[in-house]
Amino acid sequence: MPLSSSIRILATVLAVGSAAAPAIAEDATLVWVDGGGAYHDTVQTRVLDPWQEETGNKVVSVAGTDNAKLRAMVEAGRVVWDVYNGDNSWGTDADGEWLVPIDYSVVPKDEIIPGFASAYRVANMIYSIQLAYNTDQVTTKPEGWADFFDLEKFPGKRAVMDYSVGGIFEIALLADGVKPDALYPMDIDRAIAKLDTIKPSLVFWQSGAQSEELVGSGEVAMVMTYNARAYDAKVALEMPVDYIFEEQILAAAYLTVPKGSKNVDEAMNLIAFAVSKPINETMSADLPLGPSNVNASPNPEMAPDLPSSHLDKPYAVFDDQWIAENSKMIESRYQAWKSAQ
């Protein structure tokens, strides 16, 4: 005790001139975290601003989700995030240690597309991983992932997401003829054998911005990327890019609440608000983000670019639960394959 208090005094002395921590958690201000960028702006104008108007409660939004920081917050007992908008790999039961279960007496589970609401998370938008290509280099429209792996028919480099659970093994299996509904459990050996056929032509991208730049500048002929990124390259940046929805892999962004949040009830209310029909359908106002609410009717102008408008074509869905249970194996197989010369 004397040791710990003297350490605290030392800490205080060292932080001369520093004010005490601003009381973010003490007033009823919610903090929302998402991945940032154009999506961040959409969330602000379509979800958070209407929420503040309707309830009068303040929400601060932050760009930059970081699973490690969330875990550190929970373990340190100082959680400053209340609603955490993670990607599809986040929030499965495997992450239950760091999350508060969703309160389905507040959040309307029956309105969410089946499979997109579980114990610790509820989807607020549907996106997909799709094939996009440079229209200067690829003049005949590709028809699926088999064309992505066909260097003779479609010469040029290929860019893939540098993320083991981001879909790289899935697209290899789809290209190799595996039926979309038979993807899981994944045959990693088969996926790696397929990937090896084009390995020298692969470029790995780390951020969505890079994927747009690679395909837009013509450095690669085809890219596997998020549908909103392909749309951004083609429509917003007016790059020579087009994309196909054949064999897209559906995924969702999920809302979760970190364990230890000071505003759990308020966070649940905000989540319920975000997935409710009138709010959820406006997510597609500016970006090609499909609604997760079954009753929502998305922006008709955006409809041709929404993943959910193309479910008549073959498509797959990430099996997040299987991926979460096998993530260590997938990661180590991926790194071993990627680094092997």
């Binding site: 030392l10 800490a11 490690a68 990661e331 790194q335 680094s339």
Partner: protein, 285 residues
């Protein structure tokens, strides 16, 4: 000249220990750095429960870890060699320059520090990529017809990291040259040695220690680099920091991350200990 002893001046009542100056720093380091580092490294034996040494076993027997370790060391060796040579040349030119030119060279070596490391690494991608500046110049001047692939190669990583670490090899080399006794060189010249021989047999042996000290620093620092190799390197250039980052952020496996970090830290300190003599001769009388 008269010496005036001021009457009010007297020796201090208590004699202060000579090591007094380091205690506040050591206390701060212990609490604010060592404790946080230890918390994470201790995860290696506490996660999962009763992990014991299992994390270390699985990391050390994983061939992928070995490949990434080799990548890390190979990059560090390449960067160290490039920095040692370029830094020594730069320092030598600084040493032989007039004071005005020397000041300009010092500024040129320090100026890059004013641009964020992130931005500099990103700038290299714009310079080196297929549609980047170097290829643009070479194609427009007719030197080449097809772009040369430079980005995502060991070359790009080496250049990018050497750029960032070069000041660490320039300044120790310069310090050793500034301490060099110029009369030695004149003596060797007057004894009939040519300029090249004087340089190789007198000047270089006397100033080598600065180059070694700088190289040790560059080598040790480059082992921890993450952003630059990720942005500039290809699949064969990825360092251990990438594996640690994956364990920390996407897998949330802090047991493995703690074990990897402990191993990396151990080797970094080992390398530092090996090169310690040179480092301490430059920075430590």
């Amino acid at each position: 000249m008269t010496t005036v002893v001021r009457p009010e001046a007297r020796s201090w009542p208590v004699s202060l220990p000579d090591s007094l100056g380091i205690w506040p720093l050591l206390a701060a380091l212990l609490v604010l750095f060592m404790l946080p580092a230890a918390t994470i490294i201790s995860n290696s034996v506490t996660e999962p429960e009763n992990a014991g040494l299992s994390n270390f076993r699985s990391v050390l027997t994983d061939p992928t870890f070995a490949i990434f370790a080799i990548n890390t060391v190979r990059t560090a060796v390449l960067v160290s060699i490039v920095c040692a040579v370029l830094g020594y040349v730069y320092a030598y030119v600084m040493y032989r320059s007039s004071p005005g030119l020397r000041a300009i060279l010092i500024f040129c070596a320090l100026l890059p520090l004013c641009t964020s490391l992130l931005v500099r690494s990103f700038a290299w991608t714009v310079i080196l990529r297929d549609t980047g500046i170097v290829n643009w110049i070479l194609i427009n001047t007719g030197v080449i017809a097809q772009p040369v692939g430079m980005l995502r190669t060991s070359f790009a990583v080496t250049v990018g990291m050497a750029q960032i670490l070069l000041p660490f090899s320039i300044f120790p080399a310069y310090v050793s040259m500034a301490r060099f006794d110029g009369t030695l060189l004149r003596a060797s010249r007057s004894l009939g040695a040519g300029p090249v021989r004087s340089f190789l047999e007198v000047f270089f042996p006397a100033t080598r220690v600065g180059m070694i000290a700088g190289t040790v620093l560059v080598f040790v620092l480059s082992l921890g680099y993450f952003i630059t190799p990720v942005l500039l390197g290809g699949p064969g250039d990825q360092p251990i920091a990438v594996l640690i980052d994956a364990q920390v952020t996407s897998l949330l496996d802090w047991g493995a991350a703690g074990a990897m970090s402990a191993i990396v830290t151990f080797f970094v300190l080992l390398f530092l200990a090996i090169g310690w003599r040179a480092v301490s001769r430059i920075f430590f009388a």
